[in-house]
Amino acid sequence: MRIALLARAHAGALVVLFVLTALACLLVSGLPRATQAAFDRALQRALISAPAVRTDLTVAGESRSPREDLHEPAAFAERERRWRALLPATLRPLVAPAGHMSAKTSLTPVTGTGGHTYINLGWLSDADRRVDWVAGRAPGAPSTTRFQGQRIPLFEVGVVEEALDQMNLRLGDTRTLGESDFAAVRIVGVFRAKDPADRYWTHNTDILHVTKLQPPGKLDFEFHTTTLIPDAALAALSGESRNLTYRWVLPLNGQAASALAVPGIGAGVAELERVLTLQATASTPYRLETGLPKVLGDFTAGLATAQTVMYLLLAGLLAVALGVIVLGVRLLTDRLDQTLALARARGGSLRQVAGTGAALTAAAVVPAALAGYALAFLVPGPVLPLAHLGPAFVLVAGVGFGAARVALAHRTPLHERRDDVAAARPSARRITVEALVVVLALTGAYLLRARGLSAQAGLDPFLLLVPIALTLAAALVTVRCYPYPLRLLVRLAARGRGAVPFLGLTRAARARAAGGLPVLILLPALAVSVFAAVISDGITGTQRLASWQQVGAPIKVTSTIEIPAATIDRIRATPGVEQVVTAQTARVQLGYSSERAEAIAVDVAQWRRLLAGAPIGLPELPGGPSALVSPELRDRGTLDIGWQSRIKAKVAGAIDAVPGFYRTGKFVVLPQDVLTRPAVNTLLIKGDVAPGEVARLVPSATVESQEGALAAIQGDPLTGAVRTTLVVVTVALALYALVAVILSLVVGAADRARAVAFLRTLGLSDRQAQRLTMLEVLPMVLVTALVGFGLGLALPAALGPGVDLSAYAGDLPVGGYSPDLLTPGALAAGLALVAVLGAYAHTALDRRRDLGGALRAGDLS
């Protein structure tokens, strides 16, 4: 049927359909990619920021017999190749090629120290690249010496700088090790890590630092250090009578990780563990040491919520986009109606007619879907199945609806409506289906609240279905019920003098069920965008709260040593600084027992003033020696605190946390004047001053700022992704809502034009005609806006435990939604206003239409 000519004749509707479809496909295909990319970045960040020892895969095995000893680096390398060959396919791309190996003894006592000093022997395969020798020389090959009449090996070793001080070691010292099987070490060198901050050293903290332990019930400390021995010393190192552990570190390349592969990685780690146990020899079991499953588990927990929210929004967006596309297709098929009716009457078969409808719809939808799909490739991120399925779904839905609608309309060749036959009343079947949807939605919401989110990580489809069902139920109830209150209004209007309110409201109340389609689109659009705005608000607020709780002041300066009064004065004098509150923190003794508590001495009144306007606060502290305490100290009555002197302080109240300082455990807030010798080590600063400036003035201190903490929380890729998606979805939905209103106006334009033209022949003025149209559209927009607004506000509460956004708000649970109705309210009101303005513009344009033309256009018989 000359699709090209038809397309040209209906170019306007096709362009609208093209734009709507392309946008929908771009969003549906692109948004999941962007969010998935953010998930990947978040995972990579989680893996890279975790200590290497937690994320890397370490194969460890103890040598317990001389036969199992590895005496040269080549033997280690050979084993490493074996481990790498055992790596499951899912882990292989993640493991970086350059690992390192180590052989370390543990708990090797210095002879005669009574178990107080331990000097372990440690070999690192890449020690020469990792350390600088700052004194002496690198250790050489071992020799032997005599001890208690026996010949024992003498290892040349290097020790870390800090061991010299802490363990009283000196270059050139020789110590005997062991209590039964002896060996001697001579310290020939002192080393320092080339880059102590390198993640590498988390595997070998025992080499880099002296470990100081206080065994339970003892007063003295134990000191442990691990010295470095050269490759040549391996030949003399045996696990026969020492705790000797070999380790092969297979470093994880965090940059290569993708969130999609997380379940595979977990399974791969379990698989590697299994195959490693099979590699055990008679005396040497091998095991896998890694914290990777835990790191991944923590990440997945955060991810699950993000995914749920994402998919919730995406599903809402898709539903709304499809609704608007369906409206667009309706516009097109309505325009085609006359052509197809003629073709059908002149001998077109149903297949030919429906095929034409489908082909014309496809003429707009197919290129649009391809364009949207192609454009989505510009969005960086991994390609999910959804990226292909989404556009395909939109395509099939659009063309399918076009074909189905045409086929239904032209099932019989003559489909004119006789004016003298009464309109159908709502059928019992339809009411039953609607009631079923409502009941199902309510039951679903109840079950979701009762059950909560399914514990296993991943997407909970139930959580997706319930909001959609709730929205649909609300829309159905709205469509079904909104004419009734309107009819009451109509009765009131009938008594009034003006004809326009009566006519407009009557037309609104008697609009055909087709008027329900815009409601079905507008309502979810508003509900989802208000929901998004509420969640976004909730996250923003909680993030701000979390940042304040982390820092406790606009700027907090903490120092390990006392901050001199002169420095404090200099800070006070710095331009921009408004207020400085000094404080002192310490770990103090409670009573005369070993019970300890964290304490802060501060002028609470000043601190409260500093926090004015912040989302956190402190209760007032009455004068005299009184204290605010943690909940577990609440019932102590009067506290006896050992801090510089004995302080007796009355408990004035309990607080859950001292913002910026303590959140858990026992803590006490005291007035500053109870201290006999104040030694300020903490400053709380308010004012417009750069944290760097303060840090320069107090070099010994750590400076934190609330803005910095907030930026850190907001800078998390997962948080960023959630917020960006919320914004994109809100904007897209607002646009869709607007388009829905305008399209529904255009769809009903011919009918309305005819009615208005008829009324104008009876004396309706232009202005009255405009008011009439406005009154006709307004009730639907207003009611939908109100219901959508309410639903959007209720959704977070209805979903309740299902959506835990604490991962995006600095680990504070996001709760108490909608304390601020401003944004969502403005959103709903703005949408309603824009919709009404659209209607106004439409009527204003309509005025140009010629009266006779309008009357004739709708005149069918």
Partner: protein
């Protein structure tokens, strides 16, 4: 030997089929009821109609008399509720949707009142005429008939023009060509001149007559305009969903046109008296009939009120 039951039945049905069995269009006691949710509108209330092949007939009736419904039924667009409707031997009640499609493609062509509704505005005249052929699957080489039809109807010059570029009369003549595209046996026209001035109307009627004479097509024109009667061989009047009268036009002995109006007697003997006649003699509810040797007399019942008692 007595006839068996089946023989009797066969005889009975044979007798019935005799009504208009040789006619091109037969409607017998045709009923069409529109019904939704318990509300019924009876548009045709037992209509009888017989039209022979090659006739040029007008169906005249006031608005709401059921003439458009009849046309929709005859064109295969609508299915009657009860009765008999047969066109060219095809039973319109028992047709499958497939038969109905074939019927619309090859047996019947029609023209609506609104010129704009007959033609697709984005196609030119020739393409419009080719459209039904295309829909029926006529191969491209056989579509030369489109130009022939346009020439026959005197609108060959419009072949390459789009619809908005033609006058109303030209549009309607192109619409007739479209209706004739698949060589139908019957053309139905619903108020074909309703939107045209009298001069243009004349051209359109001429085109219909041309189709009737030269192509041998049966033409049925539905109109509420009694003046159309002057243009056709036979005029059938419809009132309240039934055929009420017929006007025959024939040439008299001296070459003048004689129009004679008849009332229609249906198969069970019912007769609709013209309303004017009834009003003139105040006939109400009951009349008296008297059979004479060559006619039946009808008298108002009031004339001899007390004789019977």
């Amino acid at each position: 030997m007595n006839p068996t039951l089946s023989e009797l039945e066969a005889k009975a049905t044979r007798g019935k089929a005799a009504f208009g069995s040789d006619a091109h269009i037969v409607c017998d006691n045709l009923v069409r009821i529109y019904k939704t949710e318990g509300v019924e509108v009876v548009a045709l209330q037992g209509l009888d109609l017989v039209i022979d092949e090659g006739e040029l007939v007008a169906i005249v009736g006031a608005s709401g008399s059921g003439k458009s419904t009849l046309l929709n039924v005859l064109s295969g667009l609508d299915v009657p509720t009860a009765g008999v409707a047969r066109v060219a031997g095809m039973d319109l009640l028992s047709m499958t949707p497939k038969d109905r499609l074939r019927y619309r493609r090859s047996v019947v062509g029609f023209i609506w009142q609104q010129t704009a509704r007959n033609l697709l505005p984005y196609l030119n005249a020739r393409e419009n005429v080719e459209l039904p052929m295309k829909l029926a699957g006529v191969p491209r080489k056989d579509r030369g008939r489109a130009m022939e039809l346009l020439e026959l109807l005197g609108v060959a010059s419009c072949a390459g023009r789009r619809i908005p570029e033609m006058s109303g009369g030209e549009q309607q003549r192109v619409a007739i060509a479209v209706a004739l595209a698949n060589s139908p046996q019957l053309i139905l026209a619903d108020e074909p001149t309703g939107e045209l001035d009298s001069e243009t109307s004349g051209q359109v009627f001429e085109a219909l007559r041309t189709a009737n004479r030269q192509l041998g097509v049966t033409v049925v024109i539905v109109t509420h305009d009694p003046m159309v009667a002057g243009q056709v061989d036979r005029t059938i009047g419809i009132r309240d969903g039934r055929t009420s009268s017929e006007t025959l036009r024939r040439e008299g002995a001296e070459g003048e046109i004689v129009a004679e109006e008849y009332a229609v007697l249906d198969r069970v003997g019912r007769l609709q008296l013209p309303r004017d006649f009834m009003n003139a003699l105040n006939m109400e509810r009951r009349v008296r009939l008297e059979l004479e040797s060559d006619h039946i007399g009808v008298w108002p019942a009031r004339e001899e009120p007390s004789d019977e008692r």
